[in-house]
């Protein structure tokens, strides 16, 4: 006989810390029989509000779509506007954009590791991962004043030129990250605390991933090798020659997702080093003005955010404001699939599984 448990909304103040949403679980002998989701608690109407803002303001508002991937949100909006307005960006700006996007990926994945450690009850690893993440927060603060990189990528380039001192600090942080990754691999991938709980947890098959437009690490670890940086390179990714996604890390379960995220951190580190080695001299921005007019038309821009394929649809009718600014986010599609993927899992593993999918609720609600 099945019973029903009511979970209160998982809020920012609780252990989950991924945003407010509600879960209602029907359980049967400790296993999830049916799960219902309640979202929309953090709906801010960003798309609707953007229609009353000038283009430049929309860029800064886009940070709030996913606060953990602010540079990726900025990049999607900015690239769509630049495409529509045929704005040429200096080469140095494109490289700095890649640097910022990859630093953000590292920062976001470290936060993810901290959450996984926290849900599995490994407090020391939670603290170590947060300590490493702080290094990247410091880098963003040095660069643009915001510890999460809000407003770092702007229309016409990037908000600040990268000083030699800042680039040196980036290299230093990457060396420190190396040591942490060795530790994290040993702790996470060999400790039974993680492996026994994550192995076989909420498996995602390649067919389900394809059918439901799942992207990012969740899809790649299931064998669906989609990566916007490879498919349609933007900024300077075409010149940085990112290696194709690895099929050998596939498996689709919680452990495969974790393994793939750690691999991606090494990959991001390599990309940053490559960008640093090839960073050209010159201007970091072209001035486009505060009330830029974009021509009538529309543009779609996809970028690879830390959570997957993040995109923007922009429509202008020739004024200073967009007629429509639509965000399509990876967590939205992932969240939709949760009830299906968590069916049959143990009730106590629900939060661990949700953290494993790296869902950002602020992205779902917008």
């Amino acid at each position: 006989m099945s019973t029903q448990l009511y979970y209160p909304p998982v809020t920012m103040s609780q252990k989950g810390m991924i945003g407010p949403f509600a879960l209602s679980v029907h359980e049967d002998g400790g296993l999830v029989e049916k799960l219902s989701l309640g979202i929309g608690y953090g709906h801010r109407g960003i798309e609707s509000c953007s229609e009353s803002l000038v283009f430049n303001q929309c860029v800064f508002y886009s940070d709030r779509v996913d606060f953990l991937a602010a540079p990726a949100c900025n990049a999607a909006v900015v690239l769509a506007m630049e495409r529509l307005g045929s704005i040429e960006v200096p080469e140095r700006a494109s490289f700095i954009r890649c640097l910022l996007l990859e630093l953000n990926r590292l920062h976001s994945h470290l936060f993810h590791l901290a959450l996984i450690a926290n849900s599995a009850g490994h407090a020391p690893l939670f603290q170590y991962a947060q300590r490493e993440r702080e290094r990247f927060n410091d880098l963003f603060e040095m660069y643009c004043g915001s510890r999460l990189g809000f407003g770092s990528i702007c229309l016409g380039g990037v908000v600040e030129n990268a000083s030699d001192g800042w680039l040196f600090r980036v290299e230093q942080s990457l060396s420190a990250l190396d040591e942490f990754l060795v530790e994290a691999r040993q702790t996470l991938l060999s400790s039974p605390l993680f492996t026994t709980r994550l192995e076989g947890l909420a498996p995602l098959s390649i067919e389900v991933a394809k059918k439901n437009n799942i992207s990012g690490v969740n899809a790649r670890s299931a064998g669906h090798l989609v990566d916007v940086r490879n498919e349609s390179p933007y900024a300077a990714y075409g010149e940085l020659r990112l290696a194709p996604p690895l099929a050998s890390l596939g498996g689709g379960d919680g452990l495969a997702r974790l393994r793939y995220r750690i691999y991606e951190m090494t990959e991001s580190k390599e990309l940053i080093l490559r960008a640093l080695a090839r960073l050209p001299r010159g201007n970091h921005r072209v001035i486009v003005g505060n009330s830029i007019h974009l021509p009538r038309g529309e543009a779609v821009q996809r970028v690879e955010s830390p959570r997957g394929e993040f995109g923007v649809y922009l429509r202008s009718e020739g004024g200073t404001r967009p007629i429509r600014l639509k965000y399509f986010t990876p967590s939205y599609f992932m969240m939709r699939l949760l009830p299906e993927l968590l069916r049959g899992e143990q009730v106590e593993d629900i939060l661990l599984a949700i953290h494993g999918f790296d869902i950002s609720v602020s992205e779902v609600d917008r």
Binding site: G40, N213, G311, R315, R324, Y332
Partner: protein, 138 residues
């Protein structure tokens, strides 16, 4: 099938018009009653490579339309759109791409577009909104 050929086929068979787009995108404008057949053709001809990356409502010269953007690896993307007439419902794409349902649900809630063949969803983003369809222009 290549996207260029597919666009020509849809334009010829369904009296659709191709619009100018930036980059490798192809945009097709057609009537609401041809929308589902066009999408079925796209799904069939492009096969497993075709991904519905988003579906949304938007405005063009103050006219509300519903559009779906399909991306095909190594080929680019195709955008199929249809004007939403007052009182008519759009066909649901969830039989072709299951994840279309939440996007339709959002459009139903924010723009007031009705969908035929979709699940009967409750509002989920703005349950307590004072305005019935917050994104819809009067």
């Amino acid at each position: 099938m290549k996207i260029e050929d597919l666009v020509k086929k849809i334009c010829a068979e369904m009296n659709a018009k191709q619009e100018d787009c930036i980059g490798a995108r192809k945009c097709i404008n057609l009537s609401a009653n041809h929308f589902l057949s066009a999408m079925e053709l796209v799904h069939h001809e492009l096969g497993a490579d075709a991904r519905l990356i988003f579906a949304t409502a938007s405005y063009l010269d103050n006219v509300l339309y519903w559009m779906a953007e399909i991306y095909c690896a190594n080929q680019g993307s195709i955008s199929v759109r249809a004007k939403v007439d007052a009182g008519t419902a759009m066909p649901s794409l969830s039989t072709l791409w299951p994840h279309a349902d939440w996007q339709e649900r959002e459009a139903q809630e924010l723009f007031g577009i009705q969908f035929v063949g979709a699940n009967d969803f409750e509002p989920f983003l703005v349950r307590n909104a004072r305005v019935q369809f917050p994104h819809r222009r009067q």
